[in-house]
Symmetry: D2
Subunit: 463 residues, 4 copies
Amino acid sequence: MRYVNGKAEDLKIAYIGGGSRGWAWGLMSDLAAADDMSGSVYLYDIDLEAAKRNEVIGNKVKELKDCKSPWDYKAVETIGEALQGADFVVISIIPGTFDEMESDVHAPEKYGIYQSVGDTTGPGGLIRALRVVPMFEEIAGAIKEYCPEAWVINYTNPMTVCVKTLYRTFPEIKAFGCCHEVFGTQKLLGKALEDILQIKDAQREDIRVNVVGVNHFTWLTSAQYKNIDLFPVYREFALKYKDTGFGEKTDENWMNKFFDSLEMVKLDLFLKYGAIAAAGDRHLAEFCPGSWYLKNPDTAHSWGFKLTPVAWRKEDLKNRLARSERLYKGEEEMVINTTGEEGVQQMRSLLGLRDLVTNVNIPNYGQIPNLPLGAVVETNAHFCADSVRPVFAGALPESIYPLVSRVCGVQELTVEAAVTRNLDLAFQAFCMDPNMEIGLDEAKCLFDTMVDNTKAYLTMYER
Amino acid sequence: MRYVNGKAEDLKIAYIGGGSRGWAWGLMSDLAAADDMSGSVYLYDIDLEAAKRNEVIGNKVKELKDCKSPWDYKAVETIGEALQGADFVVISIIPGTFDEMESDVHAPEKYGIYQSVGDTTGPGGLIRALRVVPMFEEIAGAIKEYCPEAWVINYTNPMTVCVKTLYRTFPEIKAFGCCHEVFGTQKLLGKALEDILQIKDAQREDIRVNVVGVNHFTWLTSAQYKNIDLFPVYREFALKYKDTGFGEKTDENWMNKFFDSLEMVKLDLFLKYGAIAAAGDRHLAEFCPGSWYLKNPDTAHSWGFKLTPVAWRKEDLKNRLARSERLYKGEEEMVINTTGEEGVQQMRSLLGLRDLVTNVNIPNYGQIPNLPLGAVVETNAHFCADSVRPVFAGALPESIYPLVSRVCGVQELTVEAAVTRNLDLAFQAFCMDPNMEIGLDEAKCLFDTMVDNTKAYLTMYER
Amino acid sequence: MRYVNGKAEDLKIAYIGGGSRGWAWGLMSDLAAADDMSGSVYLYDIDLEAAKRNEVIGNKVKELKDCKSPWDYKAVETIGEALQGADFVVISIIPGTFDEMESDVHAPEKYGIYQSVGDTTGPGGLIRALRVVPMFEEIAGAIKEYCPEAWVINYTNPMTVCVKTLYRTFPEIKAFGCCHEVFGTQKLLGKALEDILQIKDAQREDIRVNVVGVNHFTWLTSAQYKNIDLFPVYREFALKYKDTGFGEKTDENWMNKFFDSLEMVKLDLFLKYGAIAAAGDRHLAEFCPGSWYLKNPDTAHSWGFKLTPVAWRKEDLKNRLARSERLYKGEEEMVINTTGEEGVQQMRSLLGLRDLVTNVNIPNYGQIPNLPLGAVVETNAHFCADSVRPVFAGALPESIYPLVSRVCGVQELTVEAAVTRNLDLAFQAFCMDPNMEIGLDEAKCLFDTMVDNTKAYLTMYER
Amino acid sequence: MRYVNGKAEDLKIAYIGGGSRGWAWGLMSDLAAADDMSGSVYLYDIDLEAAKRNEVIGNKVKELKDCKSPWDYKAVETIGEALQGADFVVISIIPGTFDEMESDVHAPEKYGIYQSVGDTTGPGGLIRALRVVPMFEEIAGAIKEYCPEAWVINYTNPMTVCVKTLYRTFPEIKAFGCCHEVFGTQKLLGKALEDILQIKDAQREDIRVNVVGVNHFTWLTSAQYKNIDLFPVYREFALKYKDTGFGEKTDENWMNKFFDSLEMVKLDLFLKYGAIAAAGDRHLAEFCPGSWYLKNPDTAHSWGFKLTPVAWRKEDLKNRLARSERLYKGEEEMVINTTGEEGVQQMRSLLGLRDLVTNVNIPNYGQIPNLPLGAVVETNAHFCADSVRPVFAGALPESIYPLVSRVCGVQELTVEAAVTRNLDLAFQAFCMDPNMEIGLDEAKCLFDTMVDNTKAYLTMYER
């Protein structure tokens, strides 16, 4: 790496999971728009062909006329080639296939347990964690070996579990987890501002929030736009829309249905607890006791959100594979700079090119005084040259402490179970999940089934 | 108060709830056996007649030939008379009648929620808390006015809520909550010692334990008898009895049935989490998710414990009233020194007559680093002359943190709701209870019903 | 206040100490350059004439052609008029006259105690604190009464003592203390970058530092320019200049002599402790044991700095009064935007117009885990809309903990003594000062003399 | 080890420094009086002959008619033989000879620095620490190898440094440091009780105190005898004796002169800070700034204490060698049970034979919230079967925080310097000592001289 005229050149980014049909293209787009950074992206994936395809796709981007920064893409066969000398490591992998996810999400339904996402918490999130932890131990070990000074950005879910595994395996790692869910809530606050006070066009970044919690179960304890405290505004908004929900309901295409919501869970939680729940409703619902919002599909629908079936994800993958084909063959062009993700902004900050304060997932050094030290939590942090430091977020409000401390503890326990390859302990964590309101015998049957369904990825566990 | 020849004389004890037919007599007995302390006990009760009756009963004790220490008993009409100049205050009241408790315990059954005790946690414990908090605010205020330097011993349930209310109302109060549940587990460890290692007659006090948790959901993270680590012993014991339970099963009279258990919940929790759950199974079960041990009465029975019906308590009260009559008329004599409670030992320590380390409920000053500072927790504490200081207990083990932090938080939130007379917030705490695995609408119906059933005691709440 | 087209208009700033001949003009200049903010500045000063003169001077600024933002200035007779409805409060006062400061700085010389500044620590800083604390109690009380929601920026020394007094008097106050000393060290790091690596023109703001300590005794535990770790660079620089000092030594005019230094104290402290001392050498020396750098004037000179005599300050005041006359009469024009102070940037951030991370003095919430909670410390903080939150700075390095914890404690104790009007306790703090290496009897004589010299300002203390 | 009829038999105690002419005999005496414990003491010493002599002396004790418990003594040639299978390890060594101590104590006098003891803090304490740390690293390593489960009791000074080194080398060690200085202050409180309130014969153990600080600079924040708060009593006592001192002044023999004091430092510190300094005046004086009580020998005498010359220690050693000869030959008999040390009581508690709460030196887990976690501090702790847990002591009072935090930090820094064999860092710690009020150049000369004087013991340090 070197700096020339205020620009960082010759950067090396290692992309673990670089065969992705989605995130990878977003990163390509964001990098192409970053006119003060340039270099190479090394794509590593257990599916080498997918990585090679993305190499071709990525290298086409520099020919686009909007491209402000030409990056080289290179697929590599080993993780070591990708990591050696890297300045940044991006991790965005899928632990297993959608077949495993199908078990994660749908096997519990037989026992009346419904999950709207199933990748973070709940029985599905936990079994996914059992698969992902050994992978992240391996990745952390390779980072320690090949590029211990690199900054590591994780996008993989379950976020808390992945980041914790990185730190547990290699405590000196410079890693953080990055998630856009809070941004969505900032945007919703902007809409509330327009709806209630007729103030338009407030930018997301100008809505300043204090973030506290764990990933996908984050809460805002303050929200401010210029001199306007958004809490009374949001209260009025919540009271207005709590029964009907807020959001466009017409002309939806089928794709969006499974990701959109009417924000009713979010509004309900705010009115109850006085803090703003700041993730998508599908995620929030999964962290609450199962009988609240996920008793059955109808309950979910009555709260304005849908359960995302894995069949839909499989179908969607087909579309993404088709798009991959088009991009690969040059039948479709990449559109530059539209993702709204902050990964590239964070890199820019770590390079000393600008400051940034945004929400990330890192271990608790005291930024949330009433959660255990060392547990991975989500709060704001200050990014600057080679530095990420948490901003003091304050204690979890008393009203949400019981909900959040519990799930924080379950995530920590899950990592402990996975790292020690202890399925008995994993089952204990499984039973403590808020969504698991079934008897112990049934829970055991379900756990065994789910482990069995995904056993190809769990060979390292003693049974 | 004065000291004469190593004895403390002229002590004044104020007994709030002094009309009791049970605890009061135990205290009388323990005091009569305390040969280095003497003085007067002032009995205050909203049922003045009951207090007067206990005055008579208490004053008979000094005529018994086993009586080593003659105490005077005096029923008073106002709390001020009782408290004025008191050295100690004992609080042991029942918030409401068994009719209210009948609602607490049995109203939830309509929604499939079963409670084995119903006085500490669960929907019943919470509604009881709503009744008891205003009473404890009043008591704390009176202590502040009449005897701010007195030591205050609380026996009332829900323990955590009561102690928190005392400290919240009068932060300088010298108060602690006292509970015998841990002692039972120490005794069980003694039995395990005999059963597994054939070591007989280990005294409870010689089984040294480290206590961590909240009242009725306490855990031991170490247990030692002389040079024997009791954890491997208890593990062998637990494996031996986990399926059949441990305990006498013959010749039980009907009375005991509702308090005894086969310790199966305790053994199960130990085998799962590696820490020794240290309260009666009936209490432990209520702090776990409802579907585990309390799905229905059969589940409870299969785990070797019974649900205590309030009808039984009402019947038992009749027996106690009859005994009161006999004691009052001199038809029955008090038996001295048999309770095994530590209240009198604690007083002795606070008077500087001996040291004592035992478990109590006080605010968290850091004795449990991963629970919130200020939350009322149960750990060991060192008692000596005019001093109670917590012993450092260490962090909750990771395996039980999700269970315990949650209920700790719910108890704190319940006090907040009650002190601010906020029934909406109380309902939020209600919904977060581990035993409440029902939908939000049903929960609201149940809450409203239970509040309505007990409204005579809830007039200070806005509805 | 209102926002129009992205600008904040109709702001009200209350300036306590608004008759100043120095700081006030700097603020006028900075405000005139702030094109996205406008409003009024209310000048309050115990010297009303001085405030009125600054009203005239300030109102001339808007006529300057460089003036981007016209502000109105208004001298007021009462603090209430200044504070009522204020959005911001700026406090920059001098506690007493230079006659009192003459005693603070020079009286100790009779006992062999030399002070290079004498306004923050040392015997002079402590006696100054005794004068300033009652003033700040009054100011805090008035803020509580007139504008409890205003943001309060303090520039007055002793900084730590002043900020602590504000929070102690009005715990909900939104206040912070602002000091430019760290900036000077950032600039020095820039010079080291040029000297050692020939990298020119690094901007102060681009040299990112982690700040830890108490005001005027702040330390950097990391310093980074883009991808360059500045610690090895600064080490090379320190080794190069430790014996000769670094800095221009020719053509100095007499004014600068007393503020400039050859940075030798700073370099020495870095080489000893491995953390970068980040304040002017004159300040740093006063926080170290007196025999190190301030044994006598020659010792100070040998370390490349001078003791600032109060006679010079008196002379300088004459020059400033003369300049005041010229500005007032229009014989001299204000020059806009040259101060380098961050006050106006901080206001802009608090108004939600931009983010800022910079060093400030606020109570310790855990940003420095090994200093007492609640003690006023200096670290970075994140400024955004209506929010200042500390950035986690980490523990003081073990090597400087003994030096810093001591002075942190002395400052806290000084406030306690002053707030309780307890001169005995003040004397204990006085004796604990690092610069006080004299016997207890001599110390008492000195203390009594200094109190007596300044008694006109200490009438509220019992003696 | 085994338990028979409530007694612990076949214990193995390893005594490191077992050739001692003093402590060893005290231990023999205390063990002989302990009728519920018996076993063997393995004596290891670098002076094997001295250990062998003590073997003979120790084995004579069991023939005494007062001997309640016969212990076997055995001198061994290697530390491994002593430690293998030990239940307890006692460490009481002298790091170097009195020649080294002569340099420690008297070399600084040339620079006007006087030390009353010179074994804990001050320049002498620090150089002693440099010698002792490598020895304790070796001992800790051997304990880890031979008896990792043994309880380790340290009596060696500098206490804080020794205990820290044990934990730093072997973090799982079960070690604590034991010191009788607090006992002396308890006794003084008993004398105050008699002097002021005419209450006689209060036992030391019945004067309950809360201890906070670091070894030899410990403070009491409460002291209670039965129902009497001793703070007002001690205040009256302090006011009465502050000018004249308290203590027997006639018929002293020359030996005692160097250990006795008139308690004037202790009374002065109490009147200043409101907390009771609880160590001998000779120790307390050394932890305060040098100019306070140790400016020169006359200052010390005016405060009622003497500086202990090492010449006296050498003379005293001759007497002890002579006594050794008499004991060895049977010309003198040991007197049983008179030491007042608590080591044997602590062993008894750790064996589960009785509870004990007493003051010890262990790492800070939060028992003193405003000192750094992990720093070795002195507070009360609860001893019971195989367990030592700190009692929550509370924060250092604000008035003494500057004094105590500083010396706590210097001790930690000294260990860091010694463990890393870094003499430059050791010199930095040396300069920060409260007693070092000399210029940096002089300090360097002194340090180099002292290191050189003792170089035979400092060969492992790079110079």
